[in-house]
């Protein structure tokens, strides 16, 4: 939670916006001409916009960095397990770590409400789910807290954390957010609802209906779009005639904010400001985190069909984990030695999670009949 004194100032807010726009125009350029632009320099430039990490203590920053590492490793491992034939399918979000961890870090776990989408390993880990839990669900184990093996991997859910169960149809969850926020609001609770989705989801009717409803009733909802430039193979120009998802906010007279989604600190601070706004009755908000998935859409996808290796390479230079590490080191929050250590710890943790999940039983066949309706009604 951001305390009032730590709340980003107006200029802080402007900086976040500026970064976002800049980060994006780089991205857009890299994409449209397919040329190698000076990725590293630009990503440094984007970072340079963030002069400090108000609201984030060094320890908290290190913690979030660790979550990012865990998120990355868990997902890398998912692909391996899938290729080994131990999972039928994998869909992951490597590259989105800053966007996910930065936004989730600004929320109060178990108090605020969160509706993640399939890529949001980072969101769930930040809120308190463990690598083990994530692996249990990934491997369709009975013990998995999300669905106990009923849903495809990465359909998150954890009641205790107010992480709402998600489905596969893109966009449906966007309508639940105003409903959840409505309930919080009429009970006079200060909880904020954050709902996550990709830019492809902004083409759905649900997106319009959800923003419209939330805006009419001024509900405390943050619509978080992780804009990675693609919906499977379709680049974002096929989804929208506006340049930025944030522009879509104009049709509802709400604020649409862009942020460099690969910049952990910019994401965190922007989100913290929006959370604060929503808590104080100034919602809803639309946040667009510009990012990139550095992996194919899923284990079924071959992304070479629709995007160049140069484009990918360019984005790799702006990897959010590398950027965060550099920032931490530059600001004295991490040493190379500590980094090696934390990576080692994360590796152990994830290995343990995989081993545990592999050893855990799948659900019994007849349990398929349970929980269609409440028992005994």
């Amino acid at each position: 939670m951001v305390k009032a004194t730590e709340r980003p100032t107006k200029s802080r807010k402007a900086a976040a916006r500026g970064n976002g726009a800049k980060g994006r125009s780089d991205g857009a350029k890299a994409r449209s001409d397919g040329a190698k632009t000076g990725g590293a320099a630009q990503s440094n430039a984007a970072i340079a916009g963030v002069a400090s990490h108000i609201g984030l203590e060094n320890e908290r920053l290190a913690e979030l960095y660790r979550v990012m590492l865990t998120s990355r490793l868990v997902q890398d491992r998912m692909f391996v397990l899938q290729r080994q034939g131990r999972a039928a399918f994998a869909i992951t979000g490597q590259g989105h770590e800053a966007a996910q961890v930065g936004t989730a870090a600004a929320l109060k776990p178990g108090f605020d409400w969160v509706i993640p989408y399939y890529r949001d390993v980072g969101v769930c880990l930040t809120l308190g789910m463990t690598a083990r839990e994530i692996m249990l669900d990934f491997l369709a184990r009975a013990e998995g807290p999300c669905s106990g093996g009923r849903q495809m991997p990465t359909h998150w859910s954890k009641r205790e954390l107010n992480i709402v169960s998600g489905s596969s149809p893109v966009g449906t969850q966007i309508l639940h957010a105003p409903g959840i926020a409505w309930a919080s609001k009429i009970r006079g609770e200060k909880a904020v609802t954050a709902v996550f989705f990709g830019e492809g989801a902004t083409s759905t009717g649900e997106f319009h209906e959800g923003l419209n409803f939330a805006a009419i009733h001024k509900l405390p909802v943050i619509f978080v779009c992780e804009n990675n430039g693609y919906a499977i193979s379709e680049s974002s120009e096929k989804q929208m005639s506006v340049k930025h998802v944030a522009d879509r906010a104009k049709g509802y007279d709400i604020e649409g904010i862009m942020v460099d989604g690969n910049d952990l600190i910019a994401v965190y601070q922007t989100m913290a400001w929006l959370v604060e706004e929503c808590r104080n009755g100034r919602g809803p908000k639309l946040l667009e985190a510009k990012t990139y998935r550095i992996v194919p859409h899923s284990s079924d996808d071959d992304d070479r069909r629709y995007r160049s290796r140069e484009e990918l390479a360019d984005w790799m230079t702006r990897d959010p984990i590398d950027r965060t590490k550099k920032y931490l080191i530059d600001h004295g929050a991490l040493t190379e030695e500590q980094d090696a250590e934390v990576r080692e710890q994360v590796d152990v943790e994830v290995k343990e999670a995989v081993a545990y999940a592999l050893g855990a039983p799948m659900p019994e066949p007849e349990t398929a009949l349970l929980h269609v309706y409440a028992e005994g009604v």
Binding site: S147, R150, H176, A177, G179, A374
Partner: protein
């Protein structure tokens, strides 16, 4: 005992529940003004704008927002102005409301009532006359009720609101004001599930619900004078379905007529037939008959066309005679 019309019964049921439990709220189009059928007449004054919410004209959002509210502890009653306009909300009902409990292994639940007026015979033409029960009664995780009498409308709307799972509550438009019957005093419930035998008989069983139940009762009266004694079963609830009552009546009479207003092919009545054909086969004395709307878009407007479409007491009586003579 007081006399109540169907619309009054629904209104009273909701109002009594809302007065007793603050978590219950209504959302839909024009509900503050009372709703186009006046089901929520006076509610705005009684319960205020936070519990009687006028929504934008967007059915997916009516159900989707209701689901969100249900997830966060409220008990929403979503009104869809006409059943014909529920289709944009199909995804929310099927993929979300009906599957939340299952997909989360029971950790999330979705206690939600969706009320909507259905059925024809009211000059509503193609888009104000549809039967939607076959689509929804097919969905595991959802409950679908189709009462015929004011007593059940009141008792079942209360049960629906208390139900821990999503309930699609179908109100037949032509019954709203056309029948008025005595209903019990006090805070009673009609359980969601059991069918009701409305008329006992030995010769032929008629299974029906909604408006067709009343037409079937009329037809049964008509043929009674001719010596054919019909049993008329009011299914009331299509999901869960009361197989026990269905089978015991089918076994008793050995002749079964299923009547529904929806298009014949693929209508929910086929399910009743399938249950009887598999589980009461040995007791059957005649082919299982269906009488339903023809397979044309439901339903054309001009009175001759609408009349052509609608099953009614005369058509039902003719089918009974055929079956009785078999």
């Amino acid at each position: 005992m007081a006399e109540r019309s169907v619309i009054e019964a629904v209104r009273d049921g909701m109002s009594e529940m809302m007065a007793a439990d603050e978590r219950i709220f209504i959302l839909g189009e024009d509900v503050q003004q009372g709703g186009v059928f006046r089901a929520t007449e006076g509610f705005l004054d009684k319960f205020g704008p936070q519990r009687v919410v006028d929504t934008p004209l967007a059915e997916a959002s009516i159900v989707g927002v209701a689901i969100g509210a249900a997830l966060n502890g409220l008990l929403p009653i979503a009104e869809i102005q006409f059943a014909d306009f529920i289709h944009p909300a199909m995804d929310q009902i099927l993929s979300e409301a009906s599957r939340l409990r299952y997909r989360s292994v029971g950790t999330w639940t979705c206690p939600l009532v969706i009320r909507t007026p259905w059925g024809g015979g009211i000059h509503g033409a193609l888009y104000h006359s549809q039967s939607i029960e076959s689509i929804y009664a097919h969905i595991p995780g959802l409950k679908v009720v189709t009462p015929a009498f004011p007593e059940d409308y009141k008792g079942m709307i209360k049960s629906a609101i208390e139900d821990p799972d999503p309930v699609l509550f179908l109100e037949h438009k032509k019954l709203y004001r056309s029948i008025k019957t005595e209903i019990p005093e006090g805070d009673y419930r009609t359980p969601i599930g059991p069918a009701a035998v409305r008329r006992e008989g030995d010769d032929v069983t008629i299974f029906a619900y909604g408006l067709m139940l009343h037409e079937s009762l009329k037809a049964a009266e008509e043929v009674a004078g001719e010596g054919t004694n019909c049993e008329v079963v009011d299914l009331r609830c299509l999901r869960p379905l009361d197989k026990e009552t269905i089978l015991s009546s089918a076994k008793k009479t050995g002749k079964v007529l299923v009547v529904y207003e929806d298009n014949l092919t693929g209508g929910f009545g086929a399910e009743i037939v399938a249950i009887v054909a598999q589980e009461a086969f040995e007791y059957l004395d005649a082919p299982i008959m269906r009488l339903a709307g023809p397979d044309i878009p439901t339903m054309p407007y001009a009175p001759p066309l609408e009349h052509f479409y609608m099953p009614d007491a005369a058509k039902i009586a003719a089918a009974i005679r055929e079956l009785a003579a078999y």
